[in-house]
């Protein structure tokens, strides 16, 4: 497996500029001769599809939702980072780059992160020009807020709906291109496979989710912007439909899968209430700007929160991390919450929660100021829990939120399969082992608006393409195989629903490969997953037929892939004998319980190669080098 990251030469600050000059261009008149298949319409997919269409390429854009506007980027709440330094508090491209590399626990690629910081400012400009209604100060200038892992205020936001507003901006750009006839948008359609011809990605196999028709979509390059795989845990903050199928199918066709064990457990989610629970709801990290996290000092203190006097409360984040306090990065905050709950100091009926308290902020700023900042979040919390966070502290607990791992890509965002490009959360490149808050939106839009439109031209300009169409045997075979796999699922006619298997898989993953992991548990998971998979294919019940809208069948295909993919996640967690970012191995911690990294042996990207259904995957390494930021113990004390 060739893992040449193709990092351009030259000083860090000039690499992207140099590269943009060195890359081949496609003559404007020739651009319309190329067709790009884009899968996904979230921030990365919609921005990429719209921008490539503006440049003149033919674009086909697929999504499983009924409208492109509903992709899960829409749910991002808190904000988007940029190095504008509008607050004059010492921010710069270098500082955003530095914070991101450090926040990622020195497991990301410096050159990619630097480029991300460089283009961050243009994203804000672009979004404002599209009519994104960011929050503003009375003087009419853009407002900023602080986020975890940073000591400057660089996060732009639109109330608690930043993802929604940015996505609607990208969606409006996409709609404009659909009207212009340059993008063919196909909602309610699911990618079932990737088609590789002569070593290059040339298209995908699609299922029309309304009619059940399975058909080829072909072109000259494929762009996956299909999001993360957090739903391998069943319960996560992801939307119900989020899945790994597109990325996993690409992996089975030869794309390397990088760092699958890196996933982010978000510290501020509404705790689980029962078995019926279908998803976990995030409360934006921005709440930690004004909320104080605490648990009772005494084990088993069951008094109501407002009855516990100040002196008997443990504001453990402020105590342990005085310089960052409640704004430590997500991995640190999540682990600390788990630790106090493990000690028996957790709150609520299950003991699996901590308080996030706004009483001080309300006293200091007044209720209306808090309402201004977080009104919709408080409203949502109230709806779900039936408790009023203005008078009672919120109860929160960590939940699976984001996956830093993803398909391996080089500097051009191309996977190990030529022509297959991967953007946004679906790739692995920028966040290392932990993503900082408000950086996912930044990365999705950076990839889509400002990276892929250039690098795809370089790919086209550097290669010649034989004309193909859907009649090519490779498409016919893949479509056939996808169809018979679905038929096989329908034919099992067993006794258990798809959801029941998904829930069991989630339980295995959360227990053994969740917030903290150890060899023994991971090895248990490696035994349990194949057993569950075998039972799935023997006993799953998928009612209905394949030639109709069939929700059970859609889920069955996705869960079947999760049941295979989960094994690589566990293998990767097992192979990474260190703790870094979101990956915490109990064997590797300091006496104070902080993560212990091993730079000597694990300063690499772990890239997994598929070797066959009954073979173990093979791990390859891309060594990481740090020219600017010297890896150090990540301290937020």
């Amino acid at each position: 497996m060739n893992l040449d990251a193709k990092i351009p030469d030259g000083p860090m600050a000039e690499k992207w500029d140099n590269h943009r000059f060195a890359m081949k261009l496609v003559n404007p008149a020739n651009k319309r001769k190329y067709k790009v298949i884009v899968v996904g319409t979230g921030l990365a997919g919609a921005s990429a599809a719209a921008t490539m269409a503006e440049l003149g390429y033919n674009v086909e854009n697929y999504c499983y939702q009924d409208s492109a506007r509903r992709a899960h980027s829409i749910a991002a709440q808190g904000g988007i980072n940029a190095a504008k330094n509008y607050q004059n508090d010492g921010d710069s491209i270098y500082r955003l780059f530095y914070d991101t590399v450090k926040g990622g626990d020195f497991r990301s690629r410096e050159a990619n992160v630097y480029r991300l910081a460089q283009v961050s400012n243009a994203i804000i400009d672009q979004c404002v020009a599209q009519g994104v209604p960011f929050a503003r100060e009375y003087g009419g200038q853009l407002a900023n807020r602080s986020f975890g892992g940073a000591q400057v205020s660089r996060t732009f936001y639109a109330r608690g709906q930043t993802g929604q507003q940015l996505l609607l901006g990208a969606y409006s750009a996409l709609m404009r291109q659909v009207a212009a006839g340059t993008v063919k948008l196909v909602p309610r359609s699911e990618m079932l496979d990737l088609v590789v011809i002569d070593g290059r990605a040339r298209g995908i196999i699609v299922r029309d989710m309304v009619t059940g028709r399975i058909y080829p979509a072909f072109g000259d390059a494929v762009v996956l912007a299909t999001g993360g795989y957090g739903n391998v845990f069943y319960l996560s903050t992801n939307a119900m439909g989020c899945n790994v199928t597109a990325a996993y199918r690409a992996y089975k066709r030869g794309a390397g899968f990088a760092n699958p064990c890196y996933m982010q457990i978000h510290p501020t989610c509404i705790p689980v209430t029962g078995d019926h629970q279908s998803k976990l709801t995030l409360m934006s990290e921005s709440l930690r700007n004004d909320g104080r996290v605490w648990v009772p000092k005494a084990v088993g203190d069951k008094r109501a929160p407002n009855d516990i006097p100040e002196a008997e409360r443990d504001y453990y984040l402020e105590r342990r991390y005085p310089s960052f306090g409640n704004l430590v990065p997500r991995d640190v905050a999540s682990r600390a919450a788990k630790q106090v709950c493990d000690e028996g100091r957790g709150v609520g009926a299950t003991g699996l929660a901590v308080y996030l308290d706004f009483a001080d902020a309300i006293k200091r700023l007044g209720r209306s100021a808090i309402e201004q900042r977080y009104g919709n979040l408080f409203h949502m919390y109230h709806k779900i829990t039936d408790e009023d966070p203005y008078t009672m502290p919120m109860r929160i607990f960590p939940a699976v939120h984001y996956t830093m791992g993803g398909l391996w890509v080089d500097y051009n965002l191309m996977s190990t399969i030529p022509g297959l490009h991967v953007l946004g959360e679906a790739n692995f490149s920028d966040h290392g082992a932990n993503r900082l808050g408000a950086s996912a939106l930044m990365q999705g839009l950076a990839d889509g608006y400002f990276v892929i439109p250039y690098t795809i031209g370089h790919y086209f300009g550097s290669n010649t393409f034989d004309p193909i169409d859907g009649e090519h045997p490779a498409f016919q075979e893949a479509a056939q195989a996808a169809g018979s796999r679905l038929q096989k699922l329908l034919d099992v006619k067993g006794s258990r629903s798809v959801d029941s298997f998904h829930r069991d898989l989630g339980h295995i993953m959360w227990t053994h490969c969740g917030m903290s992991r150890k060899r023994e548990g991971l090895e248990t998971a490696l035994k349990e997953i194949p057993k569950l998979r075998e039972e799935f294919w023997r006993d799953v019940r998928v009612p209905g037929s394949g030639d109709q809208l069939n929700v059970s069948l859609e889920k069955a295909g996705r869960v079947a892939d999760f049941l295979e993919f989960s094994e690589i996640v566990v293998r990767d967690a097992l192979a990474r004998e260190e703790s870094c970012g979101g990956h915490f191995r109990e064997e590797h911690q300091t006496p104070e319980g902080e993560a212990k990294r091993d730079d000597e042996n694990f300063s690499h990207v772990a890239v997994w190669e598929y070797k066959g259904d009954n073979e173990e995957p093979v791990m390859h390494k891309e060594q990481l080098t740090f020219d600017l930021v010297k890896p150090s113990v990540r301290s937020y004390k």
């Binding site: 503006e54 009924d66 409208s67 492109a68 506007r69 509903r70 829409i74 749910a75 504008k84 509008y86 243009a122 804000i124 400009d125 672009q126 404002v128 020009a129 599209q130 009519g131 209604p133 960011f134 929050a135 503003r136 100060e137 009375y138 009419g140 853009l142 639109a158 709906q161 929604q164 609607l168 409006s172 750009a173 709609m175 404009r176 009207a179 909602p187 309304v210 903050t237 939307a239 119900m240 209430t273 029962g274 019926h276 279908s278 998803k279 995030l282 409203h379 709806k383 779900i384 039936d386 608006y449 400002f450 629903s497 959801d499 029941s500 009612p543 109709q548 809208l549 929700v551 059970s552």
Partner: protein, 249 residues
């Protein structure tokens, strides 16, 4: 708790469809309405029947996918709430609940409770955007925008495109939805160059899709999970009139 459900079942767009009565048990008051449907669907699958199809995705009230009429009210009895954020504590043991899809000519049923809302996308395509290619945008702070104006734009932009306004309106009008987009761009200077063209094109598309007109029932505002104010309809009307009178493109 125990509930009696009357659920709209329809195999496909061409099928006639009907309400079917079901009994469902073991519902906890902590469940969301959609989790209740999950539990109900599991019981159907256990009996070998096909589950009820309904649109849903984020389950946190922002994607706009969920779209059920519950006891005659789009998104159910709670104000400012999508179905996915409606909880069973709102209902009592022994209740009878009617669950239907959005009903409007422009939103044909695809299956059971799922309707086709692509008409909304086509209205957006007609003019719901600011014409600006990627790259070349001026500095984001180059153009100050009064906070009050930005807030009005954001109030309108909060629309999640779910279609409850259409389902609630006796005329199946989409004017709250269209008004929200027009209003967002009306309160931002970036939207001004195209304002006449935009409003005319969006209204024309809205009419072509078969949505009705506003006759001031305000049912849309009452049903809107984001509580978009009908002032956006007034703004839409005013903008439309100005555009027509001025003859501007």
């Amino acid at each position: 708790m125990h509930l009696t459900l009357h659920v709209w079942r329809q195999k496909s767009a061409n099928d006639k469809g009907r309400l079917v009565q079901y009994e469902v048990d073991n519902i906890s008051s902590d469940m969301s309405f959609l989790e209740m449907l999950d539990v109900f669907n599991e019981s159907l699958i256990a009996k070998g029947e096909e589950p009820v199809a309904f649109d849903h995705d984020c389950r946190e009230g922002i994607c706009g996918a969920c779209s059920l009429v519950i006891n005659g009210i789009p998104h159910g009895p709670d104000e400012g709430t999508t179905v996915c954020q409606l909880h069973m504590r709102r209902f009592k043991d022994g209740d009878t609940i009617y669950i239907e899809p959005w009903r409007a000519k422009a939103f044909p049923v695809i299956r059971d409770l799922i309707v086709d809302r692509t008409a909304f996308d086509r209205i957006q395509q007609a003019g719901g955007f600011i014409t600006i290619n990627t790259g070349g945008a001026p500095d984001a702070n180059a153009l100050p925008i009064a906070k009050t104006e930005a807030d009005l734009a954001m109030d309108a932009a909060a629309c999640i495109g779910c279609g409850a306004c259409v389902a609630a309106c006796p005329n199946a009008s989409a004017m709250l939805f269209v008004g929200a987009k027009v209003s967002q761009f009306l309160h931002l200077p970036q939207g001004h160059p195209e304002r006449a063209r935009r409003v005319k094109a969006m209204v024309e598309q809205m009419d072509a899709e078969g949505f009705g007109n506003c006759t001031n029932h305000y049912e849309c505002m009452a049903a809107c999970p984001k509580e978009i104010d009908v002032r956006v309809i007034a703004e839409l009307n005013l903008e439309f009139m100005k555009a027509k009178i001025s003859g501007r493109e």
